[in-house]
Symmetry: D3
Subunit: 260 residues, 6 copies
């Protein structure tokens, strides 16, 4: 079996993180998994949702919104506001992003504030939801470092990193990190979210008008574990680079982004 | 560890199916998993969605809608139409139900018609989504038998049965078929959809502000397999009973339902 | 003139009440008028609407919601949330149900709480609005008895029972309690709501692209009066049975409902 | 008992019709019942609703929309579009207006066109729904006369006139045509729609947290009959005046309206 | 070049103001620019928007809503609530009306209250937005005079009058106050809002699939200045007349309005 | 008077165009006016709106959508879909963008297709609407060049370029291209859209609770003319660069964008 882009079955696409693309957010990053690109931003609001106050829940909150920009798809995608309702798929994905990142944030230690994670897909080529979780976690890390630098937090409520990756059964073979042509033709589609210490946070596996066996599942989970292990290293580099950027190189990065 | 209702860790709650509760549907059933009760109805529309016609996709379609009746929860749940938008969780669940049942239906063999699966929760005590899949499949089987009896189909497009069940980590132990108190306190929540031949259709596992290990996952999947195996037997009995009902006992059942 | 189901012009369809079908509601009943079946639930909220607080109105409130389940009709009825707005007819009916039951409840004596009456039509065969009022009143009575049993109320704010019934001009003859085929072909359609002591609460009479005379109106009101008189007796039996059920037979009823 | 504005119990408020207030409509009238003023317009669309084409129903259609302008009430009423949904009361009233006028229009003879009746309340002082029916019928008559004058119809599909009037029990007495202070304090509120030949089209009677007897009902219906009889005479004069206006006096009327 | 209605290029259409057409508003006027007629009402709410309280902004607020009645156009215009969203053009116009009138009101001196300006177009023949600003200002003046008469304000927060007028390039010529046929065929469309002392408040000029030169712009602005100068005189007369009306002639005006 | 960023009164901020940021669009550009950054994309749909077909209008259409990303503002901006309706300001701006670009496109020569211009603000620092028009025009030019290269068009329907720029009265002085702090404190705000040959397409000038004189207006228009003249040169360079990019350097640009 040969993959459409000739990758090995266990190879990730090139992954990169361009930090600080949205300077008005507290933390932001443009994450790329091959041709899938998502703007992930973390904005801090110094307040908590009404239900937390009402139910007297201590600490903070973290919530996510996911959106495909109209020009991110091969055929233009109508905006939600034009259709008048949020896309069911988007609603499902943003709930997943929020749950995944909340699993590694100590909400009590966050203080009475809300972290808004916004994920806007600039270009969709498969795996946008796992790229959003991966990039969203980096944006959160950058934002939290800024809160610490600003003296608003003493220590990080981010217990460890979290990353998402897809795996699937494509032409009867388990493969890692599917791009759009693979995703479209895969008989099984897995999205796996794991922590830095390689425990699971979330598993979503779905046969597309097909079923799958326990063996296939094991193979996909094994690939996912390998993938997350590699991704976490890249996340750490990106977070470190963003912090250095704050110490002086921000202008350089902005220039690079604005003028190539 | 003792479960709140004293069940063994691998024991299902009492499961029952009362067929034909909504006689205007083509097939219907009231499914109970303990105190969780869901009205599942399958209505046949002799038409397909516009996108299928537009894209010239052959065959039929199957779609699901999931809704919690306002009095199904301990505290009254506001109707979606009052809030003005569909609940994110409901939207996610109905997509899952549709995908799960489509995995066992040969849409091409269905002919140019749509099966609408409606799942309205009458009483919620944990596991409403898996009960909906389980009951929805029974409603579909009854409806298809009726289409065959009416001469509209020659053979069944339902390739095999599908059932859903939950498992979770409750007090550090893997348990099967969580009721609401268990679900609320579980650290990990799994929903598993499997076919009659015990292949997977869908797996959704989520750590609620917690993570889980590969071993815990295996234990939950093992329990789920045992559970689905038992549920499928009950589904078959219910479908057979409903068919006999159609041959004459419908009035009896309706009377029982209406007047106890 | 012979009626489609051979009833006498002044005969009701078989009417029954199955209490406690929705155990999470404070009071509930499945009411049947022939093949018309409606789930009626009364849920108590220990709060009042904002406008009452704002305008400093004393006492409690009672409000109703009416909804046809998608599979209740011969052709599947789209959910309101899918259309994006509440059905005009449903909106009108739920206002009628609320007004009718408020007419027999002493809101001041209810205390600062809201009674939510939810009426979900399981099967529609004519007369769903009057069945909803009739069943809704029984659900309220059961809920209030529970509030009294729980020590939350000392005496009942339900001053007397209220019931609804339809009458119409079918093939030039006044008939009582129209089923769907009669309703569809009737030239005049009356819905009458009366109290236990046979005073009027609400009259809605409408010529469907036709008019009616004072004599026809008198005949329909006479039939309605006879009908309500009979219905009230059945309501009283049902309320008494539900109360006894609470004293021990609940499991029996639930079993009957769940397993026939 | 003395009425707030000293009228006899069976006296109507001053009623007037100012035709052609909205010249872009096919027919229009500003109807006044005392201080209740409603702009009623009938616009002809040379098409029928999609459901009529789909179900192959012959002839035309007539539908009504009712709306209270924000400044029509003592306290400013928020527009429906701001609240995001149509007011339940408005929805109910516009259905009533449509049914009432359809009862006197031969839809088959109308041809394949739709009559839109728009009723916008300029000032509300009780009885806006019956004023809307009364004025809406005049607007329809004017529009139909124009269709005949334009050669689009050979004879009128308006079989006879229809009018609406309110009656109620105020201070234990049956009174005709309640203004707002009477309406607010009435224990029973009746809206009656009758044709020119004094048959009933629609009766809606409602006890506001009260009940009413058969005797009270008879008294209110008797008053209503007297009222409609008087109103129909005024409608006929208004229709005749509008027609003459079309023959030349339109400019005069417009001038009067615009500059008093 | 001859204008469709034979006016001089710098001539306004006949302009009139009929005050107090909506007596439940604090101030109201029916403004006519030729066949363009708009009901303008100013309602006082003794409260300010939430954001002002939240941000602790002193003083009052003024906001406008603009709406075309369905029968105001040659072809019936669907209501916003039926479409489910506010018309983009209406939204833009009501923001313009609000800004324009706020420019001449000292919001601090208004006290903690909100002026709602409602502009409902009864007949549209070009220039409805500038007629709305012009009439809206008169309605505000009447309302403020009433607040002063009622002792709620000591002096007027209305610093001077404001008026709107349109100009355009029609058949290559700059013309003033375009009616609908001119507006439809104009290559450039200007809306100008000026104060009593002939300073600008707002200029909106737009080439309709065309561009315009600086010279053309100057010509249109010159015409607009002339127009506003004339309009302000009429506004002053109308405000004075409305005040006198309050002193006794209200009944006369209402009679004229109601019965011509 | 010194400007907050020390610019001369007639100086633009640094302006740049990064083409092809959204490769799934037919043409795209990230436009920067100082710290204001907008993603502008032009997507071609091979169809026209329903109203054009219905009214049998020949040629194509061009429409624009404008949206502020939630993290583009100093305080997070709620998404339109969360509020349930499109922002009034956004609606107004997208209408302006569409009109402005349609003024320079020969829609008949475009063929039966729609150009969708999407403008998503990544960072807002004043002047987002004029940046959107300026960048939108570049995206259209790139898209049209691609249509020509693909043989879908023979010659360009883009008659000339169009650009937008702001001017205003800041501390009593006319200044060009206001950033956010200037915009917030300006007493007058002008947005000017001009073509390459320096004719006007659109002028919108608004006194923010202030008025302005004819002299001030002239000064602002003079500055705008100078600004547009400079911007058009930059637009031309960007379009040329994007075309060369298509001939080979696309990968380089994408790399630069993705990895800096």
């Amino acid at each position: 079996m040969t993959r459409p882009d000739s990758r090995e079955v266990d190879a990730l696409r090139p992954i990169s993180f361009l930090p600080n693309v949205a300077p008005h957010a507290t933390g932001s990053v443009l994450v790329s998994f091959g041709d899938t690109r998502v703007i992930c931003a973390c904005t801090v609001e110094e307040d908590v949702p009404r239900w937390m106050k009402y139910q007297k829940v201590k600490g903070g909150w973290l919530t996510a919104e996911y959106n495909m920009l109209p020009y991110s798809t091969l055929e233009r995608k109508q905006r939600d506001i034009t259709r008048g309702k949020i896309d069911g798929r988007s609603s499902e994905i943003q709930r997943l992003i929020g749950r995944s990142i909340r699993a590694v944030v100590d909400l009590k230690a966050l203080g009475q504030r809300t972290l808004w994670i916004d994920c806007d897909v600039l270009q969709a080529d498969g795996g946008t939801r796992t790229a959003s979780i991966t990039g969203g976690c980096v944006a959160v890390a950058i934002a939290i470092n800024k809160l610490i630098a600003d003296g608003k937090l003493k220590q990080s409520p981010l217990k460890q990193l979290v990353a998402g990756i897809s795996a699937g059964i494509f032409k009867d073979t388990a493969v890692l990190d599917l791009n759009y042509p693979e995703d479209r033709d895969a008989s099984v589609d897995f999205n796996v979210v794991m922590t830095e210490d390689l425990n699971f946070v979330e598993i979503q596996g779905s046969g597309e008008e097909a079923t799958f066996s326990a063996e296939q599942m094991s193979a996909m989970l094994e690939l996912s574990k390998k993938g997350v292990n590699e991704i976490v290293k890249l996340q750490k580099e990106a977070i470190a680079a963003a912090d250095k950027a704050d110490d002086g190189a921000l202008a350089d990065l902005a220039a690079a982004f604005g003028q190539s």
